[in-house]
Subunit: 135 residues, 3 copies
């Protein structure tokens, strides 16, 4: 079986959901195999790949607020603060949303539903350079 | 390598956990290959495939209540309400439980533990037709 | 395609995150294939494989406290209590963190980031024997 891997580096400008469907597609469209399984692994524990609805932008805003509510920046709650008050909440949000994602490719296209897109969720406040393994 | 895919359509009658292990097995049992990786992708962002305990029914009820508690229907919390008050909570619950699931098939059988079943969690209140990609 | 599977049994001594990266590596290092996809399935619904940061130990403690906060042991909340007050919270924490995990192996090594390790999160209080399927 052919195994194809690449590294995708992307820069996150702010906390929140950043759509990366098109960047993923550039790579998957270039593959000769037509039916396969795509795995995306984020090599950091403070950002997560996530499949979410790509139609209403308010969904993204509400999700970002929800993560802020469910794992708030509150130094009194956490012992770990080596990298600032947004670091431990980022690890928690990552544990809840995972760092990897698998997705079938069928007839050369991502098997997403009509209203689904692939996002990278940046859980830290400042811009970060994030490396994804595509396989 | 052989790649096998199909679409499984299922109708959810109500919000909550619906066991789909048997529907999945009908398809996996028909495959000639004996050791492979099953991927299930739900093509919607308001329902999730989930592996959970299949013995005590109370576990499912408690989980349903937990999701209602952790991501409540409360319009004052969310900006997105185009599709009713249960839509944004459904997107949040989906972000927490994911839309896809991978599971080894060994000796032709799903490699589940004794007390595990595969469920589709319907996060919306009304019945929906849900499409799963099996790969 | 070669399909390789094994069962890994591990004993958890207490509730919390137990690093299993090295136990996984013993098996993956022994495989002749150099690029493949590792899937880990935990055959229980009260323990979860999880990729998390492996540097600061405080991160693990904070995560354990977070799970205790987000899905507390509180019998008044749950109907299911056949196996003690820590059982239903364990099922909930498992639904939030999943029982399976997929991870590329590239050049014979796990494609983890520098600060990532693989953990088994034991959600029950007492020691348990946990079986993982590696594929």
């Amino acid at each position: 079986m052919r195994q194809m891997t690449t590294l995708l580096s992307t820069r996150t400008e702010r906390q929140g959901l950043l759509e990366i469907t098109d960047q993923i597609k550039v790579w998957t469209d270039g593959q000769a195999v037509k039916v396969w399984l795509l795995t995306i692994l984020c090599r950091h524990t403070s950002a997560s790949p996530l499949i979410q609805e790509n139609a209403a932008a308010a969904v993204r805003g509400d999700l970002e607020e929800y993560f802020a509510r469910i794992a708030p920046e509150d130094p009194s709650r956490y012992e770990h603060d080596d990298e600032g008050p947004d670091d431990m909440p980022a690890h928690i949000r990552t544990a809840l949303t995972q760092v990897r994602l698998s997705l079938p490719v069928i007839e050369g296209g991502l098997a997403l539903g009509t209203w689904q897109g692939i996002y990278l969720v940046e859980h830290r406040r400042r811009p970060h350079s994030r490396t994804l393994v595509l396989h």
